[in-house]
């Protein structure tokens, strides 16, 4: 839990840095970290390689905005509706996959297929999602602040703090989850599902729980992303969105708490730090991914904590 103290400097940052670009990069980092944490819960936690989190990301954005429009409710209630939709979808898809005991590669492919189907629905259901034209989101989330009452989040600095607070909340949630019995059962399933079953753990129910929690967290990231950029379109549900989240978790460190955040920070800020012609930048992105997988299998956080522990043991 103490690793969460590493977030404190980010709370202080807006006072030091005036540049809006850095804050924007960090806002995107925080939001994509939430998506990455969502994926990490089901993959780093219960060992199930899912490709559905991008669909949940998109559904989170779409349903939150649509329910805000249709029922005139606040962002948070709209998100509540999105949670319901995502929970139901996750249970249906999860039930299908886990009932048929799809393993690793096949689970990834079936969840990918369902995500693509969701994307095609979003792409062609013009009456509701406005299809390929996407939707312009002009509404903004509102927050109750002591003293000032209901405040609309519009400028960069308020968005910075909203997304940072949300990320901190999700991090605490995922830390608690991993240390609780639920988390312990997740790792039992990840490491040896057959053994876990013989020890009385209902692996079907726990995998379904991990899959659902992961998609709800991803939907939260989708809602924040949609309302911050002000535009939602079917590309939210694309395969590339899933792969980005996976790359962040692996770069940062699978099955660690802070790994997804570190991975998100590096991969979001990287394109803007290196001044290279466009084609080369994409190549650098790919090369980094390869180097991390081959040289640092446990990711940055894995490497760093290994060094730290190594230091303590040696000392």
């Amino acid at each position: 839990m103490k690793t969460l103290l590493l977030l404190i400097p980010f709370y202080v940052l807006p006072l030091l840095v005036q540049s809006d670009v850095v804050l924007t990069v960090l806002i995107f980092t925080f939001v994509l970290s939430i998506l990455a944490i969502g994926f990490n819960i089901v993959f780093g936690g219960a060992g199930q390689l899912t490709m559905f989190h991008a669909a949940a990301f998109g559904i989170g954005g779409y349903v939150t905005f649509l329910s805000m429009l249709r029922f005139g409710i606040s962002f948070w209630l709209g998100f509540g509706v999105a949670v319901l939709v995502v929970v139901v979808t996750s249970i249906v898809i999860g039930w299908i996959c886990f009932k048929f005991r799809l393993k690793e590669f096949y689970f990834a492919v079936v969840t990918l297929a369902f995500a693509e189907l969701c994307r095609l629905v979003a792409l062609n259901w013009n009456s509701v999602t406005n299809g390929t034209l996407g939707m312009l989101v002009l509404e903004k989330p509102t927050v109750w602040l002591p003293g000032t009452g209901i405040v609309k989040i519009e400028q960069t600095v308020p968005w910075y703090f909203l997304t940072l607070v949300c990320l901190t909340g999700i991090l605490i949630f995922s830390a608690l989850l991993m240390r609780s019995w639920i988390g312990r059962n997740f790792s039992a399933i990840r490491l040896n599902e057959d053994l876990a079953q013989t020890l009385g753990i209902d692996t079907f129910r726990y995998k379904l729980l991990a899959f659902t929690i992961s998609n709800v967290v991803a939907a939260f990231a989708g809602a924040l992303f949609g309302f911050y950029t002000g535009y939602i379109d079917p590309a939210y549900l694309s395969v590339t969105q899933s792969l980005d989240a996976i790359a962040m978790v692996l770069l940062g460190g699978v099955s660690t708490i802070l790994g997804p955040v570190v991975g998100a920070l590096v991969l979001t800020s990287l394109p803007h730090l290196i001044e290279l012609p466009a084609e080369l930048r994409v190549a650098v992105y790919g090369t980094i991914l390869i180097l991390v997988i081959l040289l640092m299998p446990r990711g940055i956080v894995g490497l760093v904590s290994g060094l730290l522990r190594g230091r303590f043991n040696a000392a």
Partner: protein
Amino acid sequence: MQVVIGQILNGIILGSLYGIIALGVTMTFGITGIVNFALGEFMMIGAYATWYFSDQAMLPFPVAVMLGVVLAAVAGLVADQVLFRFTRNNLVNGLLVSIGLISVMESGALLLFTTTPKSMDAVVAGSLSLGAITLPRMKVVVFLLLVAVIGLTWLGLSRAWLGRATRAYAQNPEAAMLMGVPTKLLQTGVVVYSCALAGFGGGLYASLFSLEPSLGGLFILKGVEAAILAGVGNLLGALAGGVILGVTESVGSLYLPSAFRDAYGLVFLVAILLFRPAGLFGSQR
């Protein structure tokens, strides 16, 4: 009615292209335990090389295709020695290394050829027409070549010593190793061969369709779908899986909105995976 038959034939031809990639996917998965998602990029190498050698360097088409295959095989060898050697039997690492490789190779193509589409003239012009159905001759030629290569590969694997050793290794790696099967050579050989197959598919693709750097991405997904449809590990099934996928898409687009084209393959795939997890022809491995 003729239209449907026309589309079934078209689906079969398109399916053979999916099939050759599926064959590469199946062989790589069977022997090295990973899915080489970057196979589409080796297809792109074959396609661009064939286009360059035949359109720019004015070499005869067969020579251009052969050069494309050689280039793809060499690239496959480099990729295997530098990357895939370290991700044997580790599916997730193999997936992610492939994704990294895809962006590297795509940006290479962008640098060399820009995004301006390249299009070759049909090597064999004209079309066959049987009643109302017309099939471009080039498509038929491509289909025959692909089926021949897939057939030869299947024959090779079931007749030649190396082929039998490969199948033995796929069935039971430990036993094969004990019998002195050179596993390292085998694994590299299979990766290189599947890249060469993809390069060959790419060369033929270039004679039918326009080229752009991102063509690899579309075909690898179809190849993986076809491989799973057939049951990963089943060699001849790869072609059959590709054909079924191609026909489903072609006939599907006739009746349902063609914007949903990719959905038909996906729905079919999910159904197969749920009710016949080993695939249509797969053995319960």
